[in-house]
């Protein structure tokens, strides 16, 4: 009986390992193909297409050189960084008080406020009213046109609110008894305990703003303000319209390589940030917070 149980457990573990390996391969193989495509030399691509493996001597950084060496790349990267940092900061500054307010059970009008927040979540106003608002505020050609409309995500607010609600009420009460007002409670008690949620939601916002592509096209008319995703798109469009190329655009990379390199370039900053923030996702937050 015991042996049978052990054998079942081993079989289960093997099955689980096989299943997870398959899932892992499903995730890794496309990613591997993107990497190979990004580094494949043009002559091999035009001769053989995209192989599964490249020999160590066949890799090339040409696609990256072409994208990173573009005259507009530094400016576009800087624009993306500004939009991401500014957008994330503004979003957190606006989301934290809203989430904290909604998490306060005795907040006057809390239900109405919550209904209004959920109303926006359920019924999006659509493109035109926001466009009218942005142009009416004379924000065209301004980063704030990209940043303000999505600055408060209802989903992120609800996630943060739920985190705040999970914090022991005793902590807040203790601060209130000591004479702290609500802002002081938020500042001195809640925020120091909220690193994980601030970093998590901050990452959500940062990824959103880093990848933002459509609203810059819509609201920014000045090419010098365009962020990285727009520049990468423009480079790829130019590369694909090669029947109209009459200038000296002798690309040393294939379009597929440029696309793959573009994907990796835009992914890398977020991939670098993610592991650093990930440790906060699961870290305990309340150790020693309340003493009996």
């Amino acid at each position: 009986m015991l042996r049978s149980k052990t054998r079942d457990a081993i079989l289960f573990q093997i099955g689980l390992a096989v299943f997870l390996t398959i899932i892992l391969l499903l995730i890794l193989l496309p990613f591997w193909r993107v990497i190979v495509t990004a580094f494949i030399p043009l002559d091999i691509y035009t001769r053989e297409g995209i192989p599964f493996f490249l020999s160590p001597t066949e890799w090339t950084f040409e696609a990256f050189n072409q994208l990173l060496g573009h005259s507009m790349f530094p400016r576009a990267a800087l624009n993306s960084i500004i939009i991401t940092l500014l957008g994330t900061a503004i979003s957190l500054v606006l989301t934290v008080p809203l989430a904290y307010g909604l998490s306060t059970r005795n907040l006057p009008g809390r239900k109405l406020l919550m209904t209004l927040v959920l109303f926006v979540y359920l019924f999006s106003p659509g493109l035109i009213p926001i466009y009218l608002l942005i142009t009416g505020m004379n924000l065209t050609n301004n980063y704030l046109a990209i940043i303000l409309p999505p600055a408060v995500s209802v989903y992120n607010t609800l996630v943060m609110m739920s985190f705040f609600e999970g914090l022991p009420e005793d902590l807040k009460d203790a601060a209130r008894i000591d004479g702290a007002n609500e802002l002081q409670v938020l500042w001195h008690v809640i925020l120091p305990l909220s690193k994980p949620i601030l970093l998590t939601i901050g990452l959500f916002y940062a990824v959103y703003f880093w990848n933002e592509f459509f609203t810059p096209l819509l609201y920014l008319n000045d090419n010098d303000l365009m962020p990285l995703p727009v520049l990468l798109r423009n480079i790829l469009i130019s590369a694909s319209f090669n029947e109209y190329v009459e200038y000296n655009a002798f690309s040393s990379s294939s379009i597929e390589s440029l696309k793959a390199a573009g994907v990796l370039i835009t992914m890398i900053p977020m991939l670098l940030v993610y592991p650093w923030i990930q440790r906060y996702f699961t870290k305990g937050t309340l150790v020693g917070g309340v003493k009996g």
Partner: protein, 545 residues
């Protein structure tokens, strides 16, 4: 905890600083010229006081999207300001759906620019213009035509194009000449023909035989069974436009019957259509066409001919022969040679290369601009672009960015390569060229597609390919621009396209019964009404008697 507070405070400081630095800048249209004093509203202009400059906002697509817009200190802006008394703001609009969304959003806000290019996700520029006209957002432009005589002569000289932008008795669009017309064609690997001792095919049967030989007889001599006769991909409705030369041999190229033979309507109504499909199917069944054709993208297709995968294809002349495009193929196969060939002639003597739709860019003037009295200034600007500003906006400054040689051709010989108009660094300065400047003169085309030597020392002349393609028998299908899609266009097109592909791939048997079922299915989706409406639109536009 202290460090946490510090982070928060720093964040707030950063936010406040960046917010301050990002304070809304005045839009360029509102910005007066730097050298001008503010105008006194109460002062009447006198003959000695120059009139106040007119602000004109132009939205147009870029010729080279990656290159960006010209810088603020572009000499053309100064010339336009000084000579035309116009403050021009040039905004590059995105291509496709993104560009359409941008224009639609501006239209909804009644914030359309003064002069702008119609952008449509499905290449229906005329439809995009008509929608804005119906919303009352566009100004008639017929009265501007006499103000720009040279431009009308060079750009707006096609009566059909003008008719297509005339609605309710008024001309609303400025139809720019289409990109080089009839620029695609059928090409074949001459080195493969020579190696196998074959002649250029002239009939569908001969074409099949050559394709079969290319597939089975190792035309590249590498000892591998790795070549196909044909290569292609799907683009557009039905079987796309890249196999029209096959359908043309049976008199049914394209979706609509514009050939003038028989009644106007969908080509699938023709009794020749199933015959043409059967021939296409025989190519697929014999595996003489690259089997990936239904799913290949254009880029994949182009990568494959550069890899020497097939020997017969339909391709754009510049995508094939322009030096930057041909170079990878040339490197792989220096002794190879593509030659243009005529369309095959079918059993009834039909031969059509393809359908020429003549879609070009359309510009329009917003009603807002007309209300502000800007039409005269816009006409002045457009006329200048076609006359004094032509070379500056098309090529740059003479002697610096280009020269005109003894033969009257544009050249960069002897110029600093970085300053040459062909250099990547110079592309921002000629971004308007394909939209508003060029009109397909011989000088332009020769300059854009020069002759060069291949690696093996053979002379490659893109113009020879273009000339060959243009002289082939094309069907004049420009009337397609007035045909409005049906309300159920998505369902209709899906059924139409998927059905044809299923027949060709053998997923559905092709016989009289199944073909009749297919047509009945189209009718159940309103094909007859669609055809009647299309016919009426063509009659109304004077394109069909």
């Amino acid at each position: 905890m202290k460090s946490w507070k510090m982070i928060f405070i720093v964040c707030l400081l950063v936010v406040s600083q960046v917010l301050a630095s990002c304070a809304p800048a005045a839009t360029p249209t509102e910005e007066p010229a730097a050298t001008e004093a503010p105008a006194e509203p109460t002062v009447e202009p006198s003959p000695t006081t120059p009139p106040e400059p007119v602000d004109i906002v132009l939205w147009a697509q870029a010729t080279v999207t990656e290159a960006g817009a010209p810088p603020d200190d572009w000499v053309a802006y100064d010339i336009i300001r000084e000579e035309l008394n116009i403050n021009l703001t040039y905004v590059i609009v995105p291509t496709g759906a993104d560009g359409e969304a941008k224009i639609n959003a501006a239209a909804a806000a009644n914030d359309l620019p003064d002069l702008f290019q119609m952008v449509s996700a499905n290449n229906d520029n005329r439809g995009a213009l008509l929608r804005l006209v119906d919303l009352g957002l566009m100004a008639p432009v017929g009265d501007m035509m006499p103000l720009m005589p040279e431009r009308v002569k060079l750009h707006y000289n096609d009566q059909l194009a003008l008719d297509l932008v005339t609605f309710y008795g008024e001309q609303y669009g400025l139809p720019e000449p289409p990109p080089i017309p009839k620029r695609e064609g059928l090409v074949i690997r001459k080195d493969w023909l020579d190696k196998l001792g074959l002649d250029v095919p002239t009939t569908p049967e001969e074409l099949f035989a050559v394709a079969e030989a290319f597939t089975t007889q190792d035309p590249d001599g590498n000892g591998k069974n790795d070549t196909y006769g044909f290569g292609g991909f799907l683009n557009g409705e039905g079987l796309g436009t890249r196999f029209d030369f096959i359908m043309g041999a049976y008199g049914v190229p394209g979706v609509w019957n514009f050939t003038g033979n028989g009644d106007f309507g969908l080509n699938v109504r023709s009794e020749n259509y199933p015959e043409a499909l059967a021939y296409f199917k025989s190519l697929v069944d014999a595996k003489v066409i690259d089997p990936d054709w239904p799913t290949l993208t254009r880029d994949d297709f182009r990568a494959r001919w550069k890899q020497g995968s097939f020997g017969i294809m339909w391709e754009d002349f510049a995508a094939l022969t322009n030096k930057s495009n041909y170079e990878p193929f040339d490197t792989n196969f220096p002794d190879a040679e593509w030659i243009p060939v005529a369309a095959p002639t079918g059993p009834d003597g039909d031969t059509y290369y393809g359908v020429y739709t003549g879609r070009g860019q359309i510009f329009g003037v917003s009603q807002k601009a007309a209300d502000d009295g800007k039409k005269e200034a816009i006409a002045r600007l457009l006329e200048w672009m076609a006359t004094d500003g032509y070379y500056l906006l098309g090529f740059g400054e003479e002697g610096v960015n280009f020269i005109i040689d003894d033969n009257g051709n544009i050249s960069t010989e002897g110029l600093d390569p970085v300053q040459a108009y062909t250099a990547p660094e110079r592309q921002p300065y000629t971004q308007m060229r394909n939209q508003l400047i060029f009109y397909n003169s011989e000088q332009e085309i020769v300059a854009r597609y020069p002759t060069y030597e291949t690696i093996a020392g053979r002379l490659m002349d893109p113009m020879a390919f273009l000339g060959f393609f243009q002289n082939e028998p094309w069907v004049d299908g420009r009337g397609i621009q007035v045909i409005l899609p049906p309300a159920n266009a998505a369902d209709f097109n899906r059924y139409y396209t998927e059905g044809l592909i299923q027949f060709v791939l053998g997923q559905k048997e092709l016989n009289d019964e199944t073909w009749a079922e297919y047509l009945a299915g189209l009718d159940s989706l309103g094909a007859a009404d669609y055809e009647a409406a299309a016919q009426q639109s063509l009659i109304d536009a004077g394109l069909l008697k």
